[in-house]
């Protein structure tokens, strides 16, 4: 799903209209803009809440046990707000990965929040979730270790994993280390 290619202005116009009338749901937006992709719309609404453009109001579960939310408009912007992560194209994602790799190579130990903040630049901001995803993948192939108790959340890049300047690339079934030209496959998870 490439949300960055989509123009969200029609949905945002609907949100502003509905927001001027009171609280609204995702279904109300879809009623106004029937061509909205439902899953992408929910992801976008989630991001708008996190960025402070909307307030999410929990309504409880529906008949299918799905959590339902209403939204309250907080932003007065006429232009659809930019969502940094969603606007990342392939090259931006590669830069984000390079920045994370560079940062974890320099910092002797780090927490996820510290890693995300230090690796971010004004052009390529990196969320804690993005850092968490990359770190967890590297941890699966034992490149990253926790320092002290796992609950403290302090990690380090293993010295033996610090193979060079090029960030390892995440593939579906493993990680490719470009510095050594080696592919590390994920260990098979055996069901208990």
């Amino acid at each position: 799903m490439n949300i960055s290619k989509r123009n969200w202005q029609a949905e945002w116009d609907a949100i502003r209209h509905l927001g001027s009338l009171g609280n609204f749901t995702a279904d109300a937006i879809i009623a106004h803009v029937p061509q909205s992709p439902v899953v992408a719309l929910h992801t976008w609404l989630n991001a708008l809440v996190k960025l402070g453009h909307l307030k999410g109001l929990y309504l409880g579960k529906d008949a299918h046990s799905h959590h339902r939310f209403a939204f309250h408009l907080l932003s007065a912007d006429a232009k659809a707000p930019a969502i940094p992560r969603m606007q990342m194209d392939h090259s931006d994602r590669a830069r984000a990965r390079d920045q994370l790799w560079t940062t974890m190579r320099v910092l002797s130990t780090f927490s996820l929040a510290e890693l995300a903040a230090v690796a971010s630049t004004d052009e390529i901001p990196i969320s804690v979730n993005m850092a968490k995803h990359y770190v967890s993948v590297l941890a699966r192939i034992d490149m990253i270790r926790f320092v002290g108790a796992k609950s403290a959340g302090i990690m380090r890049l293993k010295p033996s994993a610090n193979s060079g300047p090029f960030a390892p690339i995440v593939r579906k079934n493993g990680v490719f280390d470009r510095n050594r030209d080696v592919f590390f496959a994920f260990a098979m998870e055996v069901a208990a």
Partner: protein, 252 residues
């Protein structure tokens, strides 16, 4: 999705004064006139955020970065530069390695070379090698080191003369601490008096402030607090715990 929106907008350290100073130094080296030297020095006490600042500049400019080790020789210094420049297994004499490093640095004359722990190059009489790399490649080179680095560089007059700019890292002030709190405390409520206490106890050192803010955020999460005003645990000061007296050990 939470029914209470949390401010998770990714934020960088760009607004910190030391980050801006380091980025300014690198930019001035990159945009200097053709007849001007291109060495810069970023110096300051340990923990003032030189690493944070230089990582930001490195990520912005794709700089090559090496951290000089205590055991390094000329060959290992040059090999490290080559490896960071993308050469997998650098080989050759010191002269060959220097030549290769000059070629790599000269390929992209705007791509800086950042040398952390540069004090060690002076101590080991290797600083002239940096001057040679700069003379022939014209690449901007940033020397990063402790507060004594400028004094140590005076001993090598030819290198000292090629320094275009000296930038001293400063301790974090309240404004910096507020910016760090916005990142590491998220939406938790906090007063300036408390932040100033954190800054003072951390001796203005960015990394200690980050450690303390992270602990405070964890404390608030565990207690379910929306404000950190009631924080009652110790702050990390970097001071080792004092030796306990015999009567304390006995539980008196």
């Amino acid at each position: 999705m939470s029914n209470e929106p949390s401010p998770v907008k990714p934020q960088s350290l760009a607004a910190l004064k030391n980050v801006a100073a380091c980025m300014g130094l690198v930019t001035r080296l990159q945009t200097r006139g053709p007849h001007l030297p291109g060495l810069g020095v970023f110096h300051g006490p340990s923990g003032y955020g030189k690493s944070y600042a230089s990582i930001y500049a490195q990520n912005k400019t794709r700089a090559i970065r090496v951290e000089v080790g205590d055991s390094w020789t000329r060959a290992s210094f040059l090999k490290a530069i080559l490896r960071e420049g993308g050469v997998q297994e650098p080989r050759g004499t010191v002269a060959n390695l220097a030549e290769q490093a000059i070629m790599i640095l000269g390929e992209e004359p705007n791509r800086p070379l950042m040398i952390d722990e540069a004090d060690r190059l002076v101590t080991k009489n290797m600083i002239e090698l940096v001057r040679e790399l700069h003379e022939h490649s014209q690449a901007p080179i940033v020397l990063i080191g402790e507060e004594q680095l400028p004094g140590k560089l005076i001993a090598s007059e030819r290198t000292h003369n090629r320094v275009l700019e000296w930038t001293a890292a400063q301790p974090c002030d309240l404004e910096d601490t507020r910016k760090l709190a916005a990142i590491f405390l998220g939406g938790l409520g906090v007063h300036d008096e408390f932040l100033d206490k954190v800054r003072r106890e951390s001796d203005g050192r960015a990394r200690r402030i980050v450690v303390n803010l992270s602990r405070i955020a964890e404390w608030a999460r565990n207690k379910g607090c929306k404000s950190v005003d009631g924080y009652d645990a110790d702050l990390y000061t970097g001071t080792p715990p004092a030796r306990r007296h015999a009567n304390q050990r006995r539980g008196a």
